[in-house]
Symmetry: none
Subunit: 212 residues, 4 copies
Amino acid sequence: MVAAMQSRTSAPRPGRPRSVEADAAILAATRAALVELGWSKLTMGDVAGRAGVAKTTLYRRWAGKNELVVDAVAVLFDELELPDRGSLAADVEGVVLEFAALLERPEAKTALMAVVAESTSDAALRDRIRSSIVDRQKHLVMEGRARAQARGELPAESDDPETAARSSDLIFDVIAGAVVHRSLVSSKPVDTDWARDFTRLLLGGLTAISPT
Amino acid sequence: MVAAMQSRTSAPRPGRPRSVEADAAILAATRAALVELGWSKLTMGDVAGRAGVAKTTLYRRWAGKNELVVDAVAVLFDELELPDRGSLAADVEGVVLEFAALLERPEAKTALMAVVAESTSDAALRDRIRSSIVDRQKHLVMEGRARAQARGELPAESDDPETAARSSDLIFDVIAGAVVHRSLVSSKPVDTDWARDFTRLLLGGLTAISPT
Amino acid sequence: MVAAMQSRTSAPRPGRPRSVEADAAILAATRAALVELGWSKLTMGDVAGRAGVAKTTLYRRWAGKNELVVDAVAVLFDELELPDRGSLAADVEGVVLEFAALLERPEAKTALMAVVAESTSDAALRDRIRSSIVDRQKHLVMEGRARAQARGELPAESDDPETAARSSDLIFDVIAGAVVHRSLVSSKPVDTDWARDFTRLLLGGLTAISPT
Amino acid sequence: MVAAMQSRTSAPRPGRPRSVEADAAILAATRAALVELGWSKLTMGDVAGRAGVAKTTLYRRWAGKNELVVDAVAVLFDELELPDRGSLAADVEGVVLEFAALLERPEAKTALMAVVAESTSDAALRDRIRSSIVDRQKHLVMEGRARAQARGELPAESDDPETAARSSDLIFDVIAGAVVHRSLVSSKPVDTDWARDFTRLLLGGLTAISPT
DNA sequence: GACTAATCGAGACGGTACGTCTGGTCTTCCG
DNA sequence: CGGAAGACCAGACGTACCGTCTCGATTAGTC
């Protein structure tokens, strides 16, 4: 995932090739450790032990705990999908519940907040999070919006691409932010009722800001 | 703030009383250390040194880094205010910008996410965050809503107090969540433009979910 | 003149007088703690607790652990006696066994070596040990010698008092040193057999060094 | 000296081998610290610092202060030698002065008494002292005795090996005990005069206990 | 019968060292 | 050369004692 680009060129470097199994084992071990121990008690040595791997092998692939955890958790966000549920409201409700289900998983909730916290004082980590996690989610917003426009539920985007991006970003932050805040900060469940209330609020707002 | 309940009963416990100056010095030192070092590099020993206090004095009052930081940061949220800006839109925009300004402060942004991360696997910490931080903010939502109803911008609350609380919670999570997500996850500025866009979206939604 | 007398006896200083019971309780607690914990794990706080006394009360009377322990153990050496057993050989054998029995007691053996160790870098402690412990034992040697001379087993002392003191010191160090070394360093029992062997060796030597 | 047994089998355990230089540096640092600070103020952290080594490296090799100091001091006793001085009297006098000179060294006197004190409540430490220190000295007694017998100054040993061992032990405890007691407990110098007096006493005794 | 003055208990204080744990690096030998 | 093993340095962890201090509450003798 990290330096996978090079493998494509398949330059048969000299010496023993890196074990492909090790990568998978390490990431799995990281997720398991996150579930059991949480972020702060997770240690590199413990992950290495679980994966049946030497610590050196970890450090050869990742710069530290932060990077490792981002990669270990990123794959979880690949599971998010946006099947066509027939209407914009159904699509929004669906993605909200799906995202909430993801945040219920201990490895996801713990890791997500922790790496965001670290990223506040680490620009490189911020980029890594954006590319590995945020962008994967944002893509869903774009997809849902396009589908709604095709259905005629939303007007066509503005000609100005910048304006369009601005409103995409806004919607994304509102959805993701509300779910995360409800789930992790307010510590209350994101259930069907809440998802319906939220969707009504969001769709009402969307109609209001759309140009006639 | 923390164990202040007991002081009211003023039961003069035997032995030397705890230094009240130490508390203030420690919390101030904690905030200073957060700014300089960030969450992960902040150490109890360093805080003690800055505060001119022994490590034992810290541990006598707080169980660990998490608890200390929550208390140290909580006071920042007391600064949030909601002056009457004349209209609901102006009030929302104002509180969004104020909250965003708070999240710009390094001690706030780092600490907030970090303690939330830890709280995902620590129920006691979760409660402490709720009472020390979340509730302080939620109060603003209630206030703004009441004011808007007085102005006639929003209909009177439902007779059912549970329904009213449900929508208050929703609005709170949407506002706080969106600002936090924009600021810390998406890493983009919460400026006047964004605040205006967001306010239009939110107010449109509020109108839509209001009865009649 | 008159007032000076009283200060030695019971100078009635102003203020609340020190508790006489506390002294006894503290020394007893110290000995008990020595038996249970040994020297290095004995703490002032623990002794205070056992004695039902505050730490300040200890420090008001003794400067530290060393001084306290010397005083607590010193009384044990008062038990050493030298009844007239009829001959020099019987007297030596008796005192050797008595001293060995004292060193069997855990509080004595632990404390004696420990304070001697500390005294190697503490002149004041060295003096305290000499006056509180060593001199008490040395007195027995003088007594036994005088008795043997009265019996005619040993020749009268040299006219030169310095010469007499030199040989007293020598005998004392040989007896006490041998018993301590056998018991604590070689970790072997000082039983009747050993005492008899040692006595034969010593008396043989004494005869040899005595002036014809 | 400590775990040297295993090195003979030279089983090449996996992983990086322990630094042999570190061992020497640590023991030297321990002796230096003993001279400067004495036993009670010597700290593991300080020793580590002097040796240019991490604290973990100390604890990987020794269980604590006691074990470390025993090993650090043990080598000093290797310096004791018994050159043939021509007569038993000269040999005894020589070894007494040599031993006294050793006990003059601050690292030896402090450490020896301190570890003996600890050993009174620690059987494992007692064994370590016996094998590392006591046995090294006792060997000198055996050697000197054999030499005196060869010279005809002492009769041949008893046929019963146990009887021979008993008298060897006795002589050893008398010599070592007297020197230690004079030097450390009585706090008086072991000079040539004292050594001569003591030798006369001992040799007189030896003649007395020897079978005709 | 108040006023001193030193004591007592309790327990917090600034320090120092403890022994452990983790992070990240380096060194050895094996495949 | 990759990898497992484990030693290495650095330094934070939370705990335990140290010896001092600050409390309120006793106890005496002195006015």
